[in-house]
Symmetry: C2
Subunit: 349 residues, 2 copies
């Protein structure tokens, strides 16, 4: 039997709307905190046994409809030696940020088999564990803009001044950087799918800080390149961005199969904007809702299911699980989503 | 002769598109840094002479088409004794955040004449200085959601968990808080207009973190209350929010005269969405563009002027002037905007 996630991604009917959570693995789980040790995220990722175990923890605890590889969007950059550190809760730190053309030389082609055998091994271990269940593993990569912003800013940013200034000062250099990162994403995703991942998600979280015009000029072509070059793998392609209500029309043309949106617009309005491009949608519970009283949260989950219409909808948060989220709440959301018959959803609006 | 800003706000023809900058006064100006001293923002605001001088500095330096009162959206809260500190560059800090119904008692009615005579005095000093010029003074207040978020979070926030959790846990208490803040905004704005401010802007910067449904339920009514209750003053009402592309339809119904938008959507697309509500628009240069080479920035300014169409457009940034912005660049933008004949703008697209 095909998994509900893969069916929903293809717009086919499902016996329940599939549900998983961005950042479902990791810091919010006590079983993660017990085994993670004191190392950096990169240390964990380098240990296939540990990373596989962390990937599987939320599947066991919540019964979510997909596992997502425990890793980080900067892992391929670390693997080619760009000089990345990733500390828990603080995001990536780039020792020598990308500044000029000479830094392109630091972005050699990723050779997954030799640069990150641990990632391939993790995927294989997870897929082996999941064999016999209907639960697919989602592989992932960072969107080229989001990865570029870390490389250029040196870490998290509020205003993205350096990134945007590079775009406007040397647009062709920015294009070349984006091209390298797009190829790297293709290689990273291909390796994960070849090792057994059944779907992929591109996390382009920060692309929403760009104007529609800049997104179209600088981000759309490399994202389309990624989508085109992984199409032959047959794994559904999910594209996620945040605060991107102004970009939906462009994102619809990237070639993605599923558009993952935040909570700002109701899913019915998103679908309505996409009516010429029948994509599936993923989302879109505001992760702060997990701190609301259950009855309020329950109503919101049902509302989102109704907005999603039961077909072509993967239930998820609009952004990652927040630190401090009670795992019991996530478990109740999974049970609720899986308990609703999709054929009843259209009537509930 | 009526000022270009007031004409543009009313949708009338202008001899040039008016231009001013959010945060044009303050930290980016050397003449500000020379006189500000080492006190907090509140210390400066309490000195009418100093605040008036700081308000006027960018008018002298740039020849902008409006002054905006140098103050802070939290000043009325400080004035009623809520316990606010505002440090340069770090934003407001609330010593005892809003937690429960009992905190409503800490939000007594603002009596501008006795609670903040220094603000009224500052407005009068500025207006006196500007007399004879066509330059109006813009008064302002914080949008109730944005002010509420500071009161509840205790300061700046990334995820607004506490604010959103209050909305969902005790919506009626949140409504009461918003009502108090709306009345406070009306009293604050009325005092400024009565003292001579010719237009007002409501800074609701963080409202864009809400879903369209939550904005409609919790923010739209109090904002509409403010707009309705200051309408009789006859001062154009500008409403600013950030990352609010999903809220344009709702914002159009607040009763504002001018919608101030960020850089995410082109002004032509904003105007197109508002075609049933002929509002003026304000914006929308990405403030990071001030770090771009002049030729690139120049092209973007001209593009924005073209998108604005010359009528019903006030040129501004999409958010405040960033620290580190070169005042010379802002000056060149003013000169450029003021040099373009509005009647030529439609053809330039």
């Amino acid at each position: 039997m095909i998994s509900s996630l893969l069916s929903a991604a293809a717009g086919h009917s499902v016996d329940h709307v599939p549900v998983w959570f961005m950042r479902q693995a990791g810091r919010s789980l006590p079983e993660y905190r017990r085994i993670r040790g004191s190392g950096s995220i990169l240390d964990i990722v380098h240990s296939a046994d540990l990373a596989a175990e962390i990937t599987l923890q939320p599947v066991r605890r919540y019964g979510v409809d997909a596992a997502i590889l425990y890793s980080d969007i900067m892992v391929p950059l670390a693997a080619v030696g760009f000089g990345i550190e990733i500390t828990q809760g603080k995001g990536p730190y780039v020792k020598e940020p990308f500044r000029s053309e000479s830094d392109l030389a630091r972005l050699r082609k990723l050779e997954p088999e030799t640069d990150m055998p641990f990632v391939i091994e993790t995927v294989k271990l997870v897929v082996k564990e999941l064999r016999g269940s209907e639960t697919p593993l989602i592989g992932f990569a960072g969107g080229p803009f989001t990865v570029a912003s870390y490389l250029i800013e040196g870490g998290s940013s509020k205003d993205y001044i350096k990134t945007k200034t590079l775009i406007r000062t040397d647009p062709l250099l920015f294009d070349r950087l984006m091209d390298r990162l797009a190829v790297m994403a293709v290689d990273f995703l291909t390796a994960q799918v070849n090792a057994g991942a059944a779907a992929v998600q591109i996390f382009d979280s920060w692309a929403g800080v760009l104007s529609a015009a800049e997104y179209e000029r600088f981000v759309l072509p490399p994202v389309r390149f990624i989508m085109d070059n992984i199409a032959r793998l047959g794994a559904p392609r999910i594209y996620f961005s945040l605060s991107a209500s102004h970009l939906l029309g462009h994102i619809a043309t990237t070639g993605c199969d599923v558009m993952s949106v935040d909570w700002r617009m109701p899913l019915s309005a998103v679908k309505n904007q996409l009516k010429d491009t029948p994509l599936s949608v993923q989302g879109n519970l505001d992760p702060t809702y997990c701190f609301a009283p259950w009855e309020v949260l329950r109503k919101e989950v049902l509302q989102i299911l109704a907005e999603g219409g039961g077909i072509g909808h993967i239930f998820n948060l609009g952004h990652g699980v927040l630190p401090g989220t009670d795992p019991k709440v996530l478990h109740r959301i999974v049970e609720l989503v899986q308990s609703v018959a999709p054929e009843n959803l259209v009537k509930q609006v």
